[in-house]
């Protein structure tokens, strides 16, 4: 690491970072300010005031529990959608870690026919994003009667080449002698997996969990297609629905919902930050 004392460089570096933070933070602040004003205040002032208003409780209550607004429209409650998003993101993150760890374990530690072929098939799917295979996937999910269900929302997104590849690379760095020592100690393959590999992979798992939770939480296109009933809408869809198709957009409620939708992934990142960084940079075995 470069450790140098250069005041000018320090200044430039800080300036760049501060500008960067402003660019990223300003929209979030704007959303927060909007959520604290009334819909009428937002609609009537151009440009919008940047000073927080006093409508916080009302906006967030509407965003969470729904209800009638002065304009005559109805707001759908947000908390069931937050719950759907949360369950979906958790199932996707945990499911992805479980499946990809096991498949990486199989690929690295077992010799079976067509092992190389299997690995390359998984690897090739890396190049196909969800959007490309969305047609056939929809067909399958619909034939399996999984529309409007948690299974439909999560299962097609669980298989993950990226995570499998990541775990494979990690397992390859675990010395062979550990597996051999475990064999001599009498540990079978699954025992070795559970007692040795799993604890060693903790940091990688944490890093992946953060990434995959956010991936699951932010899903938009796939839920849009597989859910038609309102009680299975994730929060991202809810926001979209509150904006489009309404005659009079309750911007304060929309922004409150957006802020609420940001909290769980932000919490996951903040709480797991230590592990996350460790998982990405840790080389100590």
């Amino acid at each position: 690491m470069m450790v140098e004392r250069r005041p000018v460089l320090d200044f430039v570096a800080h300036a760049v970072l501060i500008v960067g933070v402003c660019i990223i933070a300003f929209p979030v602040y704007l959303a927060f300010v909007a959520s604290t004003q009334t819909a009428a205040q937002i609609a009537s002032s151009h440009p919008m005031s940047l000073i927080p208003g006093d409508n916080v409780v009302h906006s967030y209550r509407l965003a969470l529990w729904g209800g009638k607004v002065e304009g005559g429209g109805t707001i759908a409650p947000g908390w069931p959608m937050l719950w759907v998003s949360f369950v979906t993101a958790m199932v996707i993150a945990i499911g992805k870690i479980a499946i990809s760890m096991l498949s990486a374990f199989a690929i690295v530690y077992f010799r079976f026919p067509f092992r190389g072929l299997v690995f390359w098939m998984i690897f090739i799917t890396l190049m196909l994003p969800v959007e490309v295979r969305i047609g056939p996937t929809y067909e399958v999910v619909s034939n399996l009667k999984m529309l409007n269900s948690y299974a439909g929302l999560t299962v097609p997104l669980i298989a993950s080449a990226t995570a499998t590849f990541l775990f494979r690379q990690f397992f390859l760095t675990v010395p062979d002698e550990l597996a051999e020592a475990a064999r001599i100690d009498g540990a079978g393959p699954m025992r070795f997996f559970k007692d040795i590999l799993l604890p060693l992979s903790r940091t990688s798992m944490a890093a992946l969990f953060v990434i995959q939770f956010i991936y699951g939480w932010n899903q938009y296109l796939w839920p849009l297609i597989v859910t038609t009933s309102e009680d299975m809408y994730p929060i991202v869809l809810g926001i979209k629905r509150a904006i489009f198709g309404e005659i009079y957009v309750e911007w304060n409620v929309v922004m409150a919902t957006a802020i609420l939708a940001m909290i769980p992934p932000a919490l996951v990142v903040v709480l797991m930050q230590k592990w996350f960084v460790k998982g990405l940079v840790d080389t100590e075995k």
Partner: protein, 344 residues
């Protein structure tokens, strides 16, 4: 405790035309309670042989028996062995105690007995105060002892050591060597110890197997191996600096090789071979004198030879021609065609 029998053991990798045979029929018997060292240059198959005993490599041909029971098809855990690896292979996330106890837990040994066995091993190896530490908090020597502790608590019939000292520095290596020796004296468990270091081999072994290119060249006590090497390979591999193998010097019959160790070659006043001194190394207690033996006045056409002189002897000068002769009863004869030991 148990004996180990190798019966025409063969190891091949690959199949068909790509077959690569690395062990060519080793037959040997390690007696109950014996400490046997397998020594050889890298790539000679010594580790492979050990790993076949452990069950980490399949046996392509022949049989290996431990305590009279053929173990070819047995899982490593059921062979009643314990192994110490070169890089120790400690489980990094487990404490020293858990590292040692892991195998016993899998065997479902009662908790109290696990504790007793681990405590006893820790006491023998002076690891008592480290039991709750993680391997990364230990020094190389301590990790090494944990690896030995893990082997001891299993109370196996056979200990297998795969170059366990090669990651230690010289001083620690000498000390650990003594500890292993003491351990073997105290426990008396049959041990196989693989190393490429002949000092380790000579000092630790009750008997040693010298291997070269997948073949067992000699199996005997360190004394036998040093005093009666059975092949020219053993002659030049064991002993440092290596034995002089001479073919052209006067008095050596056609088709024979005369071997004489540097320490058994003497400068004499008259009646010896001419040796032109090229280099001298001072090692403290002794000097190594390198030069051309035989040949003309410049050493042309001679054979490279080494002579070991005690430091009290007057050193020769570079370029000087000495007269040297071997000690009569320390001369070895080999057949030039086969490399096997021959009698004069």
């Amino acid at each position: 405790m148990a004996s180990i029998e190798f019966n025409n053991v063969v190891k091949r990798y690959g199949s068909g035309k790509k077959t690569n045979q690395v062990i060519h029929g080793v037959t040997a018997e390690v007696k109950d309670g014996e400490f046997v060292v397998i020594v050889g240059p890298s790539g000679c198959g010594k580790s492979t042989l050990l790993r076949m005993v452990a069950g980490l490599e399949e046996i392509s041909g022949g049989t290996i028996s431990i305590g009279g029971r053929v173990v070819n098809e047995l899982e490593p855990a059921r062979r009643d062995i314990a192994m110490v690896f070169q890089n120790y292979a400690l489980y990094p996330h487990m404490s020293v105690f858990d590292n040692m106890a892991y195998g016993l837990k899998i065997k479902k040994v009662p908790e109290a007995e696990i504790r007793a066995r681990v405590d006893k091993a820790a006491q023998i190896l002076e690891l008592g105060s480290f039991l709750q530490r993680k391997p990364r908090e230990l020094s190389g020597g301590q990790r090494q002892r944990v690896a030995m502790g893990r082997a001891i608590v299993r109370q196996p019939q056979v200990f297998l050591f795969d170059e366990p000292l090669s990651n230690l520095d010289a001083k620690l290596r000498a000390q650990t060597r003594l500890e292993i020796e003491k351990l073997h004296r105290d426990l008396g468990i049959t041990s196989l110890f693989v190393t490429h270091d002949q000092v380790e081999a000579m000092t630790l072994a009750e008997r040693m197997i010298v291997m070269n290119a997948g073949r067992m060249e000699q199996f005997g006590t360190p004394e036998e191996v040093y005093h009666r090497p059975q092949t020219t390979f053993v002659a030049s591999f064991i002993g440092s600096p290596p034995m002089n193998l001479l073919q052209k010097a006067p008095g050596i019959p056609e088709g024979r090789i005369l071997g004489v160790r540097p320490e058994h070659l003497r400068a004499v006043g008259t009646d010896g071979w001419r040796m032109r001194v090229e280099t001298i190394e001072m090692l403290g207690a002794e000097r190594l004198v390198y030069g051309w033996l035989g040949g003309d006045a410049e050493g042309q056409g001679g054979e490279w030879a080494i002579l070991r002189m005690h430091e009290t002897e007057a050193p020769p000068e570079l370029g000087q021609t000495l007269l040297v002769a071997p000690l009569e009863d320390r001369v070895h004869w080999f057949d030039a065609a086969t490399g096997l030991r021959a009698e004069a």
